[in-house]
Symmetry: C2
Subunit: 462 residues, 2 copies
């Protein structure tokens, strides 16, 4: 940078993290200017700084705080809400050098990881111990710091909940530059306000998470996947509580509508062997995955699920071979990329009470028709999380459709985002649709954490 303030700015950042870990101007790689939000616009920040440890993060935050320079934290940049898009007048604090698995604690069943550790990296480290960190948001190149920031969910939430149910404690840098540790290697605590839970899902606006303590589970050796086509989505939804009541404790309960199934299987070249007559009569598929530490129990459970689904009106029931099952679930996880590739203009990840999914989708179809917009998708039947792609090139119309679809979810007792977050992508809808009393309270909480508004300003709240 040519201007003196720019040079001075870089000099100070160089002092903190070393010149090799500060990028500015054209040296900033494009991928650091955006995340994966379809409606986001890439922004080149004043600089990207890549601290090596918590002390360096704290020094960067203190420095930014003194000068009132906005600071945006970034993990792997796989988010879908635009929450890690930097500001042109700000600094991007990339945590991708903080990739140390600090500890895998076999006695307390937890892992301590730096914010930049990815889900893939953690899973690889856990496999030799036959342990698993069970939150599985699909994009396994995501960082655990990013997962904490967005309270990542995914397909296994019906059994294991979401990130906030599996994070036991955090190390985080406050806007003051102070470093706090919250929670610990334990599940129980009533010792003041739960700062761990408040920071989880706050999308980088309350603190920068540098380390997390994660709960681990023994890794079940056996899984089975049952696929059942149904004539109506209402039957799929009605089957869900029956499967839960059976006690098989399903790992995954997904529905895929017929169109999405066709696109998804075609995309990965997967042939499930479903006769055309059945395909034609199907409007929604239910995928049930069960897991067990015992092969014999798994067989019994999978057979019980299959029998139950047949009783509940499934047009047929298929026990998928492991390879096909893995391919189908992987394809389902990559549905976002298929939507993006097909030119989707926006995405929805509303959550509603799971029994309300059919009613919700009927409303969505009516909204789509009214606005001559194409809306398609799949979702987590077990937890009411509906993923939809919205195809509408006219920005004004798209926003009308988005607002109507989000509002319809809230009217059913749902929420705007199940797992992607509000970020910048859904902010205008959130600020318009959310209860003003709650918004005012959230603004006061934000001010309590970050009075000078330097942490990810403009994300979530204005």
């Amino acid at each position: 940078m040519a201007d003196p303030s720019g040079t001075e700015l870089l000099d100070r950042l160089h002092d903190i993290v070393g010149a090799a870990n500060v990028w500015s101007g054209d040296a900033i790689p494009d991928e650091y200017t955006h995340d994966e939000a379809l409606t986001g616009t890439a922004v080149r920040p004043l600089a990207v700084v890549r601290p090596a440890n918590t002390a360096e993060v704290a020094a960067v935050v203190r420095w930014a705080g003194e000068r009132g320079i906005p600071l945006t934290a970034r993990g792997s940049g796989t988010g879908l809400s635009g929450a890690c898009i930097p500001r042109a007048d700000g600094i991007l604090c990339a945590l991708d050098r903080m990739q140390r698995i600090v500890e895998i604690d076999l006695d307390n069943h937890c892992a301590v990881v730096e914010a930049g550790v990815t889900l893939d990296q953690l899973d690889e480290a856990l496999q030799p111990h036959a342990l698993v960190y069970p939150v599985y948001p699909g994009e396994t190149s995501a960082s655990l710091g990013g997962n904490v920031a967005t309270n990542a969910g995914g397909m296994r939430a019906v059994k294991y909940g979401v990130t906030r149910h599996q994070v036991l404690g955090l190390e985080a840098v406050l806007a003051t530059g102070e470093v706090i540790r919250t929670g610990g290697k334990f599940v129980k605590a009533t010792t003041g306000y739960d700062l761990t839970q408040l920071i989880i899902g706050s999308e980088g606006t309350l603190a920068i998470v540098t380390e997390a303590i994660l709960k681990l589970y023994p890794r079940p050796a056996h899984t089975a996947t049952v696929l059942a086509p149904f004539a109506t989505l209402a039957e799929v939804s009605a089957a869900v509580p029956r499967i839960v009541n059976s006690g098989v404790d399903p790992l995954v309960l997904e529905y895929i509508d017929a169109l999405s199934m066709a696109a998804t299987t075609a995309n990965v070249g997967l042939e499930l062997g479903i006769p055309d007559a059945i395909k034609d009569a199907t409007s929604a598929y239910l995928v049930v995955v069960v897991e067990s530490h015992h092969g014999d129990r798994l067989e019994v459970d999978a057979a019980a699920v299959a029998e139950l689904l047949a009783q509940l009106g499934a047009l047929d029931v298929y026990m998928l071979p492991p390879h096909s099952a893995a391919l189908l679930l992987e394809a389902r996880e990559k549905a976002f990329w298929v939507a993006k590739q097909n030119g989707a203009n926006d995405i929805i990840d509303v959550v509603v009470p799971r029994a309300s999914v059919p009613e919700y989708l009927a409303t969505v179809a009516s909204i789509a028709e009214t606005h001559a917009t194409w809306v398609a998708g799949a979702g987590h039947a077990g937890d009411g999380n509906v993923h939809l792609s919205v195809f509408q090139r006219d920005d004004a119309v798209r926003k009308q459709v988005m607002r109507a679809i989000l509002e319809a979810g809230m009217k059913l007792g749902g929420a705007i985002s199940a797992e992607h977050g509000i970020g910048t992508a859904k902010k205008e809808y959130f600020l318009e649709l959310e209860d003003p009393a709650k918004l005012a309270l959230m603004r006061r909480v934000k001010a309590a954490f970050d009075p000078h508004n330097i942490l990810n300003p403009g994300t979530l709240l204005d």
Copy 2:
């Protein structure tokens, strides 16, 4: 009351909830002046008001806010932290008329309950549906609103976590009198700061909870209880991760030291049939409860646990008959009452990483010896929650011992209270031992919710 302000005060409360639901002066029953904290002092408030619904709670809060009158919420008064002891210059808002089970939603597997509904009442309503709300803090006359306020835990936390893992949403009255609804009938949400989680465990200082949405599970039909005496507590602790790794997903993992076992069984007249030679060699017992929807699987799991415990050095292994098992666990749950009856002067419910329990108890023994104080107890081996009774009549010495025992837990990476809460009983230790940066942040959060400090002032923070 004779003074005009007192009369006017009562008149207004009468207007809101009806004269029959306002008590003042000597008409206030003693039980409304205290909770079960051993070190708490009963306080007679200006009045006790018993609203019938959320609108009445909101009207009471608005009225109190306008006048700056402190307001303390009370459920069943079974708390152990002194958090619902009213103030002499304040009003006690008792929620024990709000006992409606609003809904048992079989399709979404959740219950909607008013704050005054007790655990017993909910369990009775769920049994016909073969469902269970799995948080089991032992004192089942406790209200669910109180459970939310203290983030109640209990023996089953090793499998099901604590209250905050099972509460999906809340209705709460803010200090402004505004009524908000947080969360909903779903597990996933990343839609702004998680106000549900922030209010849980805040001991009535941030909002008054009037309704909660609770997650339900199918109720396993079969349970088995395995009891294993060990020569050392270190062996008990070492057995815990091995049992977890085996995949039996234990419902309960408790340790009981030899002295507590003797007192507990004597108290309820329970004869477990353990030979004297084994009793004499035992310093700690491990109790493992497993549950299943399948009788045959339970037998296999219980046998596997028994075999594993034998391999791990148990002096013997007993499969307890259902009646004895129920009696032992009930007695264990009532340990607090035995301690109280025996004249305990204070109680500890520190949580430490579970593998650190033996080291922690060795430190506690040394602290006790130094101060000529008797300290005994049991604990949740599966989650590192240690319950101790402190027998020391000299207040100054007791406080020294308490402070040292709590500090030792924090040094091992633990927290002051696992499930009882800080309230007023542990406040002086909390304010002294907790990180000042976190305390300052909590004070700012409190001010963000309750700028005029009317909700339970003096509890948790000053």
